[in-house]
Symmetry: C2
Subunit: 152 residues, 2 copies
DNA sequence: GTTTCATGTAACTTCTTATGTTACATGATG
DNA sequence: CATCATGTAACATAAGAAGTTACATGAAAC
């Protein structure tokens, strides 16, 4: 597997859901994402546990948004996924006896920790509502582009 | 595989080499690192190509440091490894047609790029010589600890 | 010059983890 | 009760790092 794309995927789902009233079945969402319904259920499970979304069985069932989009940040969504590791690199050994390794770990950890902290901080600054606003802007400008193309 | 530990590993090797004159065989280094000689050769290949180290065959051969340790940063070493990906997460799709995905990617890329830039910057601030100095401090304080334990 | 030693590299195995898929149980709706 | 949808286990697939084996290349020692 190249890189973990669950955060990217689940945000895609949430943003799609924010564009129109639900509920949405896993199958519908899976088709929009070109993947499998089980994958959808899997990445949504954590968000359901935190009550960011709700799921209903049976006819008319599916997934529904259940949170204030202006209150939930990308960092919250990341946490709902179980906080998978952010960095692709790490130390060979944690808590090594070898002093050489300790010196290496100390230097790397400082850099790694800083980068992780910044990434989490950045994710914490962006709410789902802000993502939705950005999307609406993109939809608007596409519409304008279409009109100007029509006029040209 | 959990996480890429090549940077950690190769730094460990370099720091070991900086502690005493060489040359060191891959087998010696592998034993110190509790790994396989081929792994050593593999992670050292890029550094040899950049002339950070030299390797000699035959009797008395092995690896030798061939650079000014105060001029080479951890970032240089990282680059010598082929600049493997730093982040464990990424976008589901690059250059997507879907506007939703574009909005998600834009938000995530901003956070990801910032974190990567910070990490590279931090790695660029630390030279191998600084790592060596830190190691010597650790060796010194261990000696002191041993002495005070002896006095106690 | 032949033996020994060491690197260089290809090929294969093993391990881990995200992702894709199948199968089936659970529960809600008509 | 039949249908629909989620919940989840189990298994398959894929990618990459790390470990291992095998052998070629070349240098030094004898």
């Amino acid at each position: 597997m190249k890189r973990d794309s669950r955060l990217s995927g689940v945000l895609h789902v949430l943003l799609h859901m924010a564009q129109q009233p639900g509920p949405f079945t896993s199958e519908t969402l899976a088709k929009a994402m070109d993947t499998n319904p089980v994958v959808i259920r899997r990445i949504m499970a954590g968000l359901r546990d935190l009550n960011y979304v709700r799921s209903e069985k049976g006819h008319g069932g599916g997934w529904t948004l259940a949170c204030d989009l202006s209150k939930v940040t990308l960092r919250d969504v990341y946490a709902a996924l179980g906080s998978p590791s952010l960095l692709a690199m790490g130390n060979r050994t944690e808590a090594p006896g070898c002093l050489v390794e300790q010196a290496v770990n100390a230097a790397l950890d400082q850099a790694f920790d800083d980068a992780e902290a910044l990434l989490l901080s950045r994710l914490g600054e962006v709410t789902l509502a802000m993502l939705g606003d950005d999307l609406r802007k993109r939809l608007g400008s596409r519409k304008l582009q279409g009109m100007s193309a029509h006029h040209a």
